[in-house]
């Protein structure tokens, strides 16, 4: 199995479709999961954005400098895609008081994992957009603050502030809804 850097080199120089497909298969799960959390469970939208992410990665693979990991680079493209989509459509997925409109909670019902996913998205919906992004990247994707800063282009200290505020809100939410029992 080739390393990520070797695969990227094959794609950038030889436009190797098989090498790129290997990258897609390896990173489709974290990228789609990240977008699924950002879009509050909208599977169709998150898959569209994820597909667009990999398409842009293919077109601009020559711009990957190798300073960060390929996953960080892909997540950054995904985040920019999501942000551009939000600006274009200006969809209100969260109302002022923090509740989520039923239309975007498109989670398959009837399974324990679906219930957990619904709980997580309901919890994330009370956060502001920047807080939700930072919390998702740290608590779900397990990324350090430096990588979160690279993905979102938010300064590290601001990322820490978003994380601190987001965690406070989540802790209160979980306690109010009985998750600490």
């Amino acid at each position: 199995m080739l390393t990520d850097l070797a695969l990227v080199t094959k794609v950038a120089i030889f436009r190797d479709h098989r090498a790129f497909e290997e990258l897609v298969r390896k990173y489709q799960s974290p990228v789609r999961r990240f977008l699924l959390n950002l879009t509050s469970g909208d599977e169709a939208l998150s898959d569209d954005l994820a597909q667009d992410t990999f398409l842009k990665a293919w077109q601009h693979i020559g711009q990957f400098s190798g300073k960060a990991s390929i996953q960080t680079w892909l997540m950054r493209i995904a985040y920019n895609n999501f942000y551009d989509h939000q600006r274009r459509h200006r969809e209100q997925t969260v109302s002022i008081d923090g509740t989520v409109s039923a239309a975007v909670m498109a989670v398959k019902a009837g399974t324990p994992s679906a219930t957990t996913a619904m709980d997580v998205r309901r919890a994330l919906s009370i956060l502001g957009e920047a807080e939700r992004t930072c919390i998702t990247l740290q608590m779900i994707d397990g990324l350090p603050i430096e990588e979160i800063s690279q993905i979102t282009s938010i300064p590290p200290n601001t990322v820490k502030s978003h994380l601190r505020r987001g965690k406070e809100k989540l802790k209160n939410f979980l306690k109010q809804n009985g998750y600490d029992r």
Binding site: H17, F20, E21, V24, R25, Q28, S29, R32, R33, L36, N37, D47, A50, Q51, F54, L55, W58, S113, T116, A117, D119, V120, A123, Q138, M139, I140, D141, G142, P144, I145, K160, L163, K167, L170, K171, L174, Y179, D180
Partner: protein, 121 residues
């Protein structure tokens, strides 16, 4: 997943436990990678066709410029004038000339229709 070196508090552990199922969740591919690669192949094919048309147009422009600079238009006009001055005068010769023109026009038209059909398909 705390971002400092202090011992995690009970609240931090609560958050970690809450997000733990999602952090280990792996999304099945379900044909996603195949759809991405198909989309890339289609995009590359469209780009190749566009570049091909642009290259053809560029070469045509260069050819027209060279043709003009080397007096090609003068040669064509001189040729037409020469044909007209030695025009056939009998009916048979005129019919022969019109038949050749009709065949040539039909060939060009059928080629254009064939190319249009290929483009649409």
């Amino acid at each position: 997943m705390t971002d400092n070196t202090q011992q995690p508090t009970a609240d931090d552990l609560l958050l970690e436990q809450f997000f733990k199922p999602c952090s280990s969740e792996q999304l099945a591919d379900d044909g996603f990678s195949r759809r991405v690669m198909t989309h890339i192949a289609e995009t590359d094919a469209r780009r190749a066709r566009r570049l091909s048309w642009q290259w053809t147009a560029a070469c045509l422009c260069v050819a027209l410029v060279v043709f003009t600079l080397t007096g090609g238009w003068y040669a064509i006009v001189a040729g037409i004038v020469g044909v007209l001055t030695t025009m056939p005068t009998t009916t048979a010769q005129l019919i022969h000339l019109m038949a050749c023109g009709a065949v040539l026009t039909t060939l060009v038209a059928s080629e254009l229709v064939r190319r249009e059909h290929l483009t649409l398909s």
